[in-house]
């Protein structure tokens, strides 16, 4: 896979939230990675691991607690509001919930056209309408439906409206935040194929966030596994599947059901301890089958080319 130069560089990114009683939720705790132009990086983990927060912090929808995000070499967290607004044309997001991510009071035209209005990219109403229809066509929706409201569409169709909205400003980089997990199985493949097709046609770079490792493996060039706010393993997707090293990755892989009764009947499952503590974990809670270690004192080590695993810090 010969990919171009680095487009996105995330370094030491942290996002903490104050929770009640003086507690701190370290949702994203010191993550670093980079994505090359035209590449898809998958970010997997279970609910509460911080993957969605990571996505939102990278787009600066949340102000980071620490760390930097460089887009084409520019640290976006130092940009003035005006420059940040311009930067937003290059970085877009597709959201998880196709029901919640579209304003119910807007027509499809207004939803997709909003970005054009914000960045004054359409000179006239006619131009705006033409561009919206073009975008609808691009995502395989009937332009005749442009005056309808989101609730009239099915889940898959709404998600395509969300994709058209993200594409309106001709972005270079799109964060796909669990774009298919709310969709029916028969629809998921449609959306994934559309994303892949758009990537090929428009040269997009993706950060694909999901909890479904099989879909992530399918779409991503490389995959990062997140656990309790940290990346515990990062490798090319084939490598990660063939040779998982971190115990958490192994657990995750063994838990995914495969639609084949033969394989399921012979599968051995690696059990991940459910501590029953709910979503707010503590740092000490990094026990995975195969041993406990302190995630707070861990680092990503490159064990073979391009394959990184979290290990206890030496010394």
């Amino acid at each position: 896979m010969s990919k171009g130069k680095t487009l996105i560089e995330v370094e030491g990114l942290k996002k903490y939230f104050n929770v009640g009683g003086g507690g701190v939720l370290k949702a994203v705790n010191d993550i670093s990675f980079s994505i090359a132009e035209g590449e898809t990086l998958g970010l997997v983990g279970e609910s509460g691991c911080g993957k969605s927060t990571a996505g939102r912090t990278i787009l600066r929808l949340y102000e980071p607690t620490a760390g930097s995000v460089r887009f084409n070499g520019v640290d976006i967290n130092t940009l003035s509001p005006g420059k940040m607004k311009a930067m937003r044309r290059d970085m877009q997001m597709i959201f998880q919930d196709p029901y919640a991510s579209l304003n119910p009071r807007f027509t499809v035209t207004d939803i997709i056209g909003e970005a054009l209005d914000i960045h004054k990219m359409a000179g006239s109403r006619k131009e705006r309408k033409k561009r919206v229809e073009e975008l609808l066509d691009m995502v395989g929706l009937n332009p005749d439906h442009a005056t309808r409201y989101p609730h009239e569409f099915s889940g898959g169709q709404r998600q395509r409206i969300g994709i058209a909205r993200a594409l309106a400003v001709n972005p270079k980089f799109i964060i796909c935040d669990e774009p298919i997990s709310a969709l029916d199985v028969s629809i998921q493949a449609q959306v994934v194929n559309l994303l892949e097709d758009l990537q090929n046609r428009l040269g997009l770079t993706y950060l694909f966030i999901a909890h479904d490792l099989s879909m992530v493996k399918h779409i991503s060039d490389r995959v990062a596994v997140m656990y309790l706010g940290r990346i515990v393993e990062l490798a090319e997707s084939e490598e990660l599947y063939a040779n998982p090293l971190h115990p958490y990755t192994k657990t995750l892989l063994s838990a995914i059901p495969i639609p084949d009764p033969e394989i399921e009947a012979n599968k051995k499952r690696i059990i991940h301890e459910d501590h029953g503590n709910g979503p707010i974990h503590t740092d000490k809670d990094a026990s995975v089958s195969g041993g406990t270690y302190d995630l707070e004192n861990s680092e990503l080590v490159e064990v073979s080319k391009g394959h990184f695993v979290s290990m206890p810090k030496k010394g």
Partner: protein, 317 residues
């Protein structure tokens, strides 16, 4: 393929031909078509309201009362202020349809005139509550943090002062008049609305469609006026509808205490107060204004409930 041990072929209609089995393949256009009629959320709500008989009855009654309060006084040859001591305390008759009061003033005219005052007070107070409440609540909810804390504390303190006390103090300072009453009512009346708006905005501002708009670079104004407030419209409309009868009642109550509009100007509350002294002998003097104010308040409350159901389809579906 497995051995087909006992295939039972499906029965087929007699007229099938080979042509029926010609491939046509998937029809993407057909498979994506939306069949239901297009309706916006507001239109949908309106249709739901139309189908609510009770709420529509209430709306009809309110419109009728409003029309009568405008045109009712014109239908009679009397006016609301002229005394005619010779025809005081008359029972309802062909000349004075609702009878007369102790000064011989025509009760029909006075009742509708009073209803006019009550409605004006209610609507104006509700409108002022709406304006202040939406702006104040919108700012609290949208900016959050310290702004929210300080503004919220201020509204809580204001709310803690008994409103009757504020009103009475205000009426001492200012002349008792319609304007004074409206000011008195709105001094604390907007707080409820601001809390409702704040709650809605806080709930909405982390919704994904708002994040989506932010990720496209939308500024505060666009977020607030295009995304947040329109989606909070339902609860706002309901709150306004329910705050009108509150204001009407408060006005009636103040007038009843003698703190409201001053004679010869009539409001429903002051008329009931006037009727109090001889109500055993002249019950019609109390009956008409009392029935009317009850009808107004009941109708507004029913309409408000109907609006709540219509605007929030999640409540019943």
């Amino acid at each position: 393929m497995e051995a087909n041990q006992q295939i039972k072929v499906m029965p087929s209609p007699a007229d099938l031909t080979a042509d029926d089995f010609a491939r046509i393949g998937a029809d993407e256009k057909q498979a994506e078509i939306i069949q239901r009629e297009s309706v916006s959320a507001l239109k949908d709500a309106w249709q739901r309201l139309l189908s609510n008989k009770l709420a529509m009855t209430a709306l009809f009654i309110l419109i009728a009362i409003a029309l009568m309060s405008i045109f009712g006084p014109l239908m009679s040859k009397f006016n609301y202020y002229s005394n005619d001591l010779l025809s005081g305390n008359m029972k309802p008759n062909s000349e004075h349809w609702f009878g007369t009061d102790d000064f011989g003033r025509d009760m029909f005219v006075r009742t509708w005139y009073g209803a006019r005052i009550s409605l004006v007070v209610g609507l104006v107070a509700a409108l002022i509550d709406l304006c202040i409440g939406v702006v104040y609540g919108g700012i609290m909810g949208f900016f959050g943090g310290r702004v929210d804390t300080i503004m919220n504390k201020f509204s809580e303190i204001l709310y803690a002062i008994p409103y009757l006390l504020v009103t009475i103090l205000l009426l001492v300072v200012m002349e008792p008049s319609l304007v004074t009453i409206i000011i008195a009512l709105t001094i604390t009346g907007w707080i409820n609305m601001s809390w409702i708006v704040r709650g809605e905005i806080i709930q909405l501002k982390n919704r994904e469609f708002v994040l989506a708009s932010r990720s496209m670079g939308a500024g505060s104004g666009r977020l607030l006026f295009r995304h947040l407030l329109p989606n909070a419209l339902g609860p706002i409309i309901v709150t306004v509808t329910l705050s009108v009868p509150n204001a009407i009642f408060a006005e009636a109550f103040l007038s009843f205490l003698g703190l409201g509009v001053q004679a010869p100007v009539a409001s429903l509350g002051s008329m009931i107060n006037d009727a109090l002294t001889g109500w055993l002998y002249y019950p019609w003097r109390m009956l008409f204004p009392a029935v009317l104010i009850s009808l107004i308040m009941l109708s507004f409350n029913i309409l408000g409930d109907g609006l709540r159901d219509a605007l929030d389809p999640n409540l019943k579906n």
